[in-house]
Amino acid sequence: MNIFVCVKQVPDTETKVVPTGDGSYIETNSIKWILNPYDEFAVEQALQVKAANSGSTITVVRVGGVKDTEALRTAMAMGADEAILIEAGDNVDSYMTAKAIKGAIEKSGKNPDLILTGKQAIDDDCLQVPQLLAQMLGMPSVSVVVGFEQDGDGYVLKREIEGGTIEVYSANSPAVVACNKGLNTPRYPSLPGIIKAKRKPMEKWTLSDVGVADSDRRVNYSNFQLPPEKPPGKKFEAMDEGVQASVVSEVVNLLRTEAKVI
């Protein structure tokens, strides 16, 4: 089987985010990059599918900045076989990303049997690339997947919807499957895996190599801002029994009128 895993490299969750001066993106100079946590589920699923289908190859594809290749190296250290890096800016939009991945898969010369992605990236939270990619490739897609089984030529996919209800889909191969937390437990990269990852092949292509032009941009980012600072919390002293009744009614009133939570 040819399994493709689309990954994104995102700022570490502990990053202190600072918008650039012109508001077009965030400062990336001192960011520590990691593999998008939802994509770890996709890589793990690919490894499990590969283990069950001998002779399979896992190709990881990433579109984005090239200062660091942490995400691809992590995926290969976990066990993916090879990588394709499409060199682009850090702030490419979902449409360009999907189109670039489509171009990369076609350029690779491999016919995909399965494309796995995370359900979303934790930086911009767009949740668009899997569906756009599936549409462009004319494949079925299922997102927020928490259960995966191979069934003959296709896949039986469990998808979580509001309220914890599970929908079960049957999809023909090839399909785009966007993975959610709960699908599996991603393995740690082993130390021999880390060392082996260095020797695994990584193709580097530009956006134009995979047929993407500046005119493909659908979203221009112009005004990144930090959220407004939260006002400080209020503290109420009610150790003295005499004031407790009035303090409680004041708190209840504020929760109702100001915080609007009750």
Partner: protein, 379 residues
């Protein structure tokens, strides 16, 4: 001049080992300390990731790590739990004599199985009456036809209750002193091995420590490392390799205590401001930071010298003595910064202080390190 940067691969090794330590070891360190139980599941997982038996060369199925790689791993794992790391390092201590001095046949026979599944090993040198004075060990190895017969008692043997393999030091003739010492490999289940009950310890309580008796244990000649009488040289060189690992473990534990202290000092308020704004606490934190940096540099140099094929005895003893003593001081100060909370088992730092003490004692006490250093600098 030396390059102080880690190679890119070492950065990744460190991140992977530290991630494992923080996610898998640290959250359960207190639990296994209280249960006094070897965390086999965690250790097996560490083995699966390649974090155990770092000394096994690639020819025998190992990853072929440098000593510098190995100390980076040891420091990272000790950050999670010094006790668990003791169980991990005890494997290296036992396998190093084989990796360094074993014949090709012995390496294949004894090391390769450790790369195929998680197995446990013990290094048996100390005896009830001989600790620091290791040249006076009384366990005997007597020739009997083609074999040897092993008799004697060993004490404070890490991993003894779980080990698949023991590297035992004995003497072929006590009157020869260190020239009679011989190292042999004893396999689990050999007739005549008697393993004592688990010791109840102050720290490293999740690691398994026992006394052992060898009663007429028959050792085939092919289990002798090098030749009879070369055990002292084997033990000395093994310790040159293992001391940087132990020093790194002290460093990892100290780093963990330091990180706890920094976090607490920023959160805890007294006299209207965080502890970290009080100069008395700042001085303590600054001293801790200096000791950490010095320990790390010594550990790295001790490892780097070996990787360069150079003599490291003096620097390895510097590293072991300094990092262990610093770990004791740093963990003690961390408890002090936590105040009453630091003394409670509900908080993590008292365990670190208990664990630190052992590193000043095992694999050559801080005093023995100074004797070695004195011998080296006066020579």
């Amino acid at each position: 001049m030396t390059d102080y940067n880690y190679a890119p691969e070492q950065v990744e090794i460190r991140e992977a080992a530290l991630k494992f330590a923080k996610n898998e070891m640290l959250p359960r360190a207190g639990e296994f300390d209280q249960k006094q139980e070897l965390p086999l599941e965690i250790l097996t997982k560490a083995w699966e990731l390649g974090l155990v038996n770092t000394c096994i060369p690639t020819e025998y199925g190992g990853a072929g790590f440098s000593t510098l790689d190995a100390v980076i791993i040891s420091e990272s794992l000790a950050y999670g739990c010094m006790g668990m790391n003791t169980a991990i390092m005890a494997n290296d201590l036992a396998l190093l004599p084989i990796a360094l001095f074993g014949s090709d046949e012995q390496k294949k026979r004894f090391l390769t199985p450790f790369t195929e599944s998680y197995k446990i090993a013990s290094f048996c040198l100390t005896e009830p009456e001989q600790g620091s004075d290791a040249a006076s060990i009384k366990t005997t190895l007597k020739k009997d036809g083609d074999d040897y017969i092993l008799n004697g008692q060993k004490m404070w043997i890490t991993n003894a209750g779980y080990a698949d393999l023991f590297v035992v030091y004995a003497t072929i003739d006590p009157s020869l002193k260190h020239k009679g010492i011989t190292a042999c490999v004893v396999e689990k289940g050999t007739k005549g091995i008697e393993i004592g009950k688990a010791e109840h310890k102050m720290g490293h309580r999740c690691s398994d420590t026992r006394a052992m008796n060898f009663n007429n244990v028959r050792i085939p000649a092919e289990n002798i490392l090098m030749k009879a009488g070369s055990g002292w040289e084997i033990a000395k060189k093994t310790l040159d390799h293992s001391r940087p690992l132990v020093a790194a473990s002290a460093l990892g534990g100290a780093q963990c205590a330091f990180d706890h202290a920094i976090k607490y000092a920023k959160e805890r308020k007294q006299f209207g401001k965080p502890l970290a704004k009080h100069q008395a606490i700042q001085f303590m934190l600054a001293d801790m930071a200096i000791k950490l940096e010095n320990s790390r540099n010594l550990v790295h140099k001790a490892a780097w010298l070996l990787d360069e094929g150079k003599e490291n005895t003096k620097i390895a003893s510097f590293a072991k003595a300094y990092a262990a003593d610093s770990c004791m001081e740093i963990t003690t100060d961390a408890v002090q910064i936590f105040g009453g909370y630091g003394y409670s088992v509900e908080y993590p730092v008292e365990k670190l202080m208990r664990d630190a003490k052992l590193i000043q004692i095992y694999e050559g006490t801080s005093q023995i390190q100074r004797l070695i250093i004195a011998r080296e600098i006066l020579n």
